[in-house]
Amino acid sequence: MVGALGVSQVAFLILAALTVLSALTVVVHRNPVHSAVALVSTLCLLALFFFALDAQLVAILQVIVYAGAIVVLFLFVIMLLNLQAQSRATGGPLLVAAATLGGVALAGLVVSGLGRAAAPPAAGVGAGFGETAALARELFTAYLLPFELTSLLLLVAIVGAVALAKKADG
């Protein structure tokens, strides 16, 4: 297995590298607009991953909802507040050092932990796995309650957002 890399694995590695790069750009770049664009690219690359993992509906939703709506919302706000490129983008060097150390430690611990954990039972996928019908079936039967609660959550979010963003004197 080691050394013998198939096509899909190579593709994975290339895509993974690109994704990490975009994520870093989001976090590191000074100009907020550039960060937003990098975010879009990260999300789209992730959608590609979802496609590879037989999660077609989720992948489409990722593009439509995340890249399409949420990032656009971000860009709206950036424009509204007229944010410029930041001269001092990050907190003090001490904080940066601590955070970098922490982040590396986190990733390392999780990966090593995964290495120790037993592999989940491998199973094959049935037909129609990842398609709309399959998702919908689960959604409206086993996960009906969370579905309804999420609807409520969305309502609350809308009302809250409107209330918060209104001007003070209505």
Partner: protein, 624 residues
């Protein structure tokens, strides 16, 4: 044989009810107070009399017991509130209630018109209650409760007229000196209980301890000595007698009751009660005898040079108590208690008589300003003469019989020594002398009182002279009570043989000699005392100033204590205690001052803390 009864608790309950009455109702009902106060004590006397009569028809060695309630139960240790009436405690109880009753009646007249009339009787009833608890207690812990109670009442009554600072100071002195003695008593008690406890016998009950007394071994000596320390405090022996002369600041009936007849006899009673314990510690008995005779001699010498009528009687009490302890120390327990009883009669009589004189002179206590009172106060004069003859030991008055037994036992008893007997004779001589001197200076010769006082000299009212008369009868005839024989079942047979005739003759001669000397010096040749005093000069000043013992104590012990208190209060307390408390506060403030800097308000810093926490958990889980 022990018979259970519920009668005994009434002996204590009746005066206790008096306390409640006087405290809560007394102020508004002064008319009732003069009936309730003496009345309840008289009722207690009646109950004691009834119980004692009941005891007398039973076989010798019987005792009545009243178990009031179980007080302390702590594992194997029990302490009860229980009362025991045997021959010894019956005699004591009758003396306390009987003489107490007479003094209560006398007080109605003496304290008439005083602002604290009800308060006085409350304290006096409280004292009676405590003293009865002391003598009737069947265990040492309850005895100590009574012991402390009488100490408290002594303090309250000495400082009765507390508006004058010297009276309050005298009360304080009495209490503090007593406390030192009490500490000794407690240590002795603890040692006793602990020693027995280590053998598995956890008790303070006197009879139980008596049964197991042999277990004590060598510990008996320190126990007896420590208990005796308590006795020196309560019964005013060397070195803790210094409070008694100052205690004369209290009303004279108080001096009669507490500092002559009852409270100061508590030490004597305690040792008599525990005579079997002291029998196991001959060394302790020797100490008791030596201190007793030394105190007797010391106090008698001082009494010869005092000019305050009550001071003479105070030192006389100390001296007579010394004789009682001498009696105990040489094994003549019966004689000692006998003397306790007769002393109660004639000393109370002498004090009440002195009170009558003071009352009649409008408050004068200095004998140099008395004299010639015989025609004006005949009843007082006659009764005080009876008292004087009794204390001097002139036959057939009571003091002759009781003192005689002690002196004979000191001479030739099983633990006696001739030197003790000789010293006892010297004390007898001096006793006769100074009491005779008191009588002569007060009642005979020219009246040296100032004009305005002389016009108002009057005999005391019947409520005061009647108790004097009753006490005089007892002081005269009390010697014929077969006290030692009565006490035999409790304290064992006093084995000394009857004193020979030459003893009696010598004793009478000593007594008459002392009185005669007083007569010569103060009636026939009034110039002599002054001349002798000038000749003895320095020594005389020393005696008159009571050998400067108080000043010695002040310079050594008291100054030391005050210095220690000063250091504690000015240095140790602010630095250590306040420092510790304030330091704790400062520490808390410092820690919080440092800790609050964690609250930067910056959310990212908090998020970093989250991350650290998550890493710790994750690391633990991964490394496991």
């Amino acid at each position: 044989m022990v018979i259970e009864t519920t009668l005994l608790r009434w002996i204590i309950a009746l005066p206790a009810l008096g306390v409640l009455f006087h405290v809560f109702v007394g102020r508004r009902a002064t008319g009732a107070v003069k009936w309730v106060g003496p009345g309840l004590v008289g009722a207690a006397f009646a109950v004691a009399r009834a119980a004692a009569s009941g005891l007398r028809v039973m076989p010798a060695g019987t005792a009545l017991h009243d178990h009031v309630y179980t007080w302390i139960v702590a594992g194997p240790f029990r302490a009860e509130v229980g009362l025991r009436l045997d021959a010894l405690s019956a005699v004591m109880a009758l003396v306390v209630t009987g003489v107490g009753f007479l003094i209560h009646v006398y007080s109605v007249g003496y304290m008439h018109g005083d602002r604290g009339f009800a308060r006085y009787f409350a304290y006096l009833n409280l004292f009676t209650t405590a003293m009865l608890i002391l003598v009737l207690a069947d265990n040492l812990l309850l005895l100590f409760v009574g012991w402390e109670g009488v100490g408290l009442c002594s303090y309250l009554l000495i400082g009765f007229w507390y508006e004058k600072p010297e009276n309050a100071a005298a009360g304080k002195k009495a209490f503090l000196v007593n406390r030192i003695g009490d500490a000794g008593f407690l240590l002795g008690l603890f040692l006793l209980v602990w020693t027995l406890g280590r053998q598995g016998i956890w008790t303070v009950d006197i009879e139980t301890i008596r049964q197991h007394a042999d277990v004590l071994g060598a510990v008996a000596v320190p126990v007896c000595l420590l208990l005796f320390v308590g006795a020196t405090g309560k019964s005013a022996q060397i070195p803790l007698y210094v409070w008694l002369p100052d205690a004369m600041a209290g009303p004279t009936p108080v001096s009669a009751l507490i500092h002559a007849a009852t409270m100061v006899t508590a030490g004597v009673y305690m040792i008599a009660r525990l005579h079997w314990l002291y029998a196991l510690a001959p060394a302790a008995l020797a100490v008791v005898a030596v201190i007793g005779v030394t105190t007797a001699l010391f106090a008698a010498v001082i009494a010869t040079a005092q000019v305050d009528i009550k001071r003479v009687l105070a030192y006389s009490t100390v001296s007579q108590l010394g004789l009682m302890f001498l009696g105990l120390g040489v094994g003549a327990t019966g004689a000692a208690v006998f003397h306790l009883v007769t002393h109660a009669f004639f000393k109370a009589l002498l004090f009440l008589g002195a009170g009558s004189v003071i009352h009649g002179l409008g408050g004068e206590q200095d004998m140099r300003r008395m004299g010639g009172l015989r025609p004006h106060m005949p009843v007082t004069f006659v009764t005080m003469t009876v008292g004087t003859l009794a204390i001097a030991g002139v036959p057939p008055f009571s003091g002759f019989f009781s003192k005689d037994e002690i002196v004979w036992a000191a001479f030739s008893g099983p633990h006696g020594a001739p030197v003790l007997g000789v010293l006892a004779f010297v004390v007898s001589f001096l006793t006769a002398y100074y009491t005779g001197r008191l009588l002569v200076l007060t009642f005979l010769g020219e009246c040296r009182a100032p004009e305005d006082v002389r016009h108002h000299i009057h005999e005391s009212p019947a409520v005061m002279t009647l108790p004097l008369a009753v006490l005089a009868v007892f002081a005269f005839a009390g010697g014929w009570l077969p006290v030692p024989a009565i006490l035999e079942p409790v304290i064992g047979v006093t084995e000394e043989a009857e004193a020979p005739l030459w003893m009696f003759t010598l004793a009478s001669a000593v007594a008459l000699g002392g009185l005669g000397l007083a007569g010569v010096l103060y009636v026939a040749r009034p110039d002599l005392p002054g001349a002798i005093a000038r000749r003895l000069d320095g020594f005389y000043a020393l005696v008159r100033d009571k050998f400067r013992v108080d000043e010695l104590y002040d310079a050594t012990v008291i100054r030391l204590v005050f210095a220690a208190a000063d250091v504690s209060a000015r240095r140790i307390d602010p630095a250590l205690i306040d420092g510790a408390i304030n330091g704790t506060g400062l520490l808390v403030a410092a820690i919080s001052g440092a800790s609050r800097r964690l609250q930067t308000g910056n959310v990212q810093h908090y998020a970093l803390s989250f991350l650290v926490g998550a890493l710790v958990l994750l690391g633990y889980w991964v490394m496991r």
